[in-house]
C-alpha cells in the first residue's frame, strides 16, 4: 500500500497528469483487492495521458491520486509527521506550488483524553507542523491556514488505542471543501 502511494507520488512528481481511466489501465484501481499490497503489484507504469488538458483540481478527489489522501496520523503525544506520510505532504506541497491560487485548511485533531482546550492547542501543534513542512517544500504561507479541532471531531468513538490512534490526526482540506 505504502509503495503504491510512493509510486503514484513519483509519477505525479514527474509531471504526469492522469485521469481515472488511465489509473484503471495502470491496474492501480484494484489495489484494495487481496494481494494488491504485495511488492511488484504496483510497479506497472502509468500510461501517457490520453487527454491533454485535465483540471488539476480533479486529482484532489481522484482516489488513485495521492492528493486524495488527506489524513496524517500520529503516535501518542507526538506531533512530528511520520516518514510514511512524507510523500503525501510532498505531493500536497507540489500541488500548492503549481496552483498558486489553491488554498488549504489543515485541521489538527487529538484523542479525547485530557482537557478540551489543552487538546485544541495540541491539535494546533500538529497542524502547524504540517503547515511548516509544506512551506519548507515551497508552498506559500498565505495559501495555508492551520487550525485545530482538538478532541471534538473524532473519526472513531471507542475508548481504546485503536480508536484513539485514528483520532490523532491532521486533515487536509482545500477551498470549496470547508
Amino acid at each position: 500500500m505504502r509503495a503504491i502511494i510512493i509510486v503514484t507520488a513519483l509519477l505525479l512528481a514527474a509531471g504526469c497528469q492522469t485521469t481515472p481511466e488511465d489509473q484503471a489501465a495502470a491496474g492501480v484501481e484494484d489495489r484494495s483487492k487481496p494481494g494488491a499490497g504485495k511488492p511488484g503489484a504496483q510497479v506497472q507504469p502509468v500510461e501517457r495521458p490520453k487527454v491533454a488538458a485535465v483540471d488539476p483540481a480533479s486529482a484532489l478527489k481522484d482516489p488513485a491520486s495521492i492528493l486524495s489522501k488527506r489524513s496524517i496520523y500520529y503516535d501518542y503525544d507526538k506531533f512530528d509527521v511520520r516518514d510514511e506520510y512524507r510523500g503525501l505532504v510532498e505531493a500536497h506541497a507540489k500541488y500548492l506550488r503549481e496552483n498558486p491560487k489553491a488554498r488549504m485548511l489543515i485541521q489538527g485533531n487529538t484523542d479525547e483524553r485530557g482537557s478540551r482546550e489543552y487538546n485544541v492547542s495540541l491539535g494546533q501543534r500538529r497542524s502547524d507542523g504540517v503547515k511548516r513542512m509544506l512551506i519548507l517544500l515551497g508552498a506559500r504561507e498565505d495559501q495555508i491556514e492551520s487550525v485545530s479541532l482538538g478532541e471534538e471531531k473524532p473519526q472513531a468513538d471507542g475508548q481504546n488505542e485503536g480508536s484513539w490512534s485514528k483520532n490523532r490526526r491532521s486533515d487536509i482540506l482545500y477551498s470549496g471543501e470547508y
Partner: protein, 422 residues
Amino acid sequence: MRFLLGLLFFVAASQAGAQLSIEITGPGVQRTPIAVVPFAGEGTVGTSLTAIVRADLERSGLFRGLEVPPLAPHPNENSPVNYGEWRSRLADALVVGSVAQNPDGRFEVRFRLYDIVKQAPLGAIAYLFTKDNARAAAHRIADFVYEKLTGEKGVFSTQIAYVVKRGNTYELQIADADGERAQYLLRSNEPIISPVWSPEGRRIAYVSFESKKPIVYVHHLSENKRQVVASFKGSNSAPAWSPDGKTIAVVLSVEGGSQIYLINADGSGPRRRISNSASIDTEPRYSTDGKWIYFTSDRGGSPQIYRMSAIGGEPQRITFKGSYNVSPRPSPDGRILAYVTRDGGKFQVALLDLSNQQVQVITDSDRDESPSFAPNGRMILLATVRGGRGVLSAVSSDGRIRQNLPYSGGDVREPAWGPFIE
C-alpha cells in the same frame, strides 16, 4: 412588621425541553433540620413554592427538610410560633408564609424565618412575582433562608451554562442552578466548547466550530444576539473574562502555536499578546481581583499551571505535583485553585490551597473536566462521564457533598456556573 418588596423580571427565551435532574449522593454531613410549612394560599400559583425552597435547601447538602403534617389552623407569617411544639418535631428552623394574588394579577409572597433553637425570628421578606416567575421567587426565598442560617450568600437564584451533545447536534444551554427552566442559546451541527459567563451575568463567551475552525463569540442574553469577538487566522479559543467585563483573554494561533492575547470584549481594537513562549500557553483565567492570569503551559515539558500578571510578565509555576495539571480555576475568594490533575489514567478535580500549597483531590470519578466554582465558592460544578455518558456533577469544595445531575437528553459537558445576579 416590615416587608421588603422585590420585583423579579426575566427575559423569556425559547424552551429547550429536556432538563437536568439532581440526585444527592453525599455521605452524612450534619444537616440542619428545617420545617418549610406550605405557604397558605400557594395552591393558587400552580407551582409549590415551598417544595422548591425545600429542594433547594436540601440540594445544598446543609439542610434536611422535615415532613410537615397538616396543621390546624394552618400557620402563616403572622401566626404566633409555638417554639416548644416545633422543637418536639426536631426542627432547628422554621419557615412560614402566605401567598396572595394582587388585583394586577401578580402574586405576593410573604414569609418569615425562625430559629427554633434560639427561639427567635430571623427575618421576614416579601416578593412580587408573576406566575411565570414562581420558580425564581422560590429560589429567592431559599437564598434568603440560606444566607440567614449559614451567613453566606445562597446560589439558588444563579444560572448555569453547559453544552449538550445529542447525535451530531450541539446546544449551548442555560438553566437555573437546579437544572430547571433550561433554554438553549445556540444550536449547531458543529461542536461548541468553553462557555464562560461575563462577571455581570448578561453575556456568555464561547467557542464554536461552525466555521470548521474554532472562533470565539459573545452572546448577549437580553438581546438574544451574538457577535464574533476573535476570528483571526488559525484557532481562536479559551475565552476568559476580566473581572470588569471589558476585556477577554483568548488563545490565538495567529502567530503560530497557542499563545494568550487580550482583546476588547466588544471585539473592537487590536489584540495584545501577553504570553511569549515557544510552548503551549492556554486556558487563561483571571483571579477575582484581576491582578493575575492563571494558565496552562507545557513550557516545563509537561502541562502545568502557571500564573502571570494580568498585563503580562514573567510567569511563575503554581503546580508541581504530577505530570498533567490543567484547566486552572481560581476560587471567588482567591484562596484556592481548582484544576484537573491526571493520576495514572484518571483525570480528577484537585484543589490547591494557595496559602499553604496543600493539594486535595475532591472527586472519585476518573474523567473529570471543566471545574467551575459556584459564585459563593462552596460548590464546584464539573463534567464527568458515567455509564459512557457525559454528565454534570457538583462537589462541595470540602469534597464532602456530591450531587449527580443526570440528564436524559444526551451528553452534557462544559459546565459554567454563572455569577450572582442582583
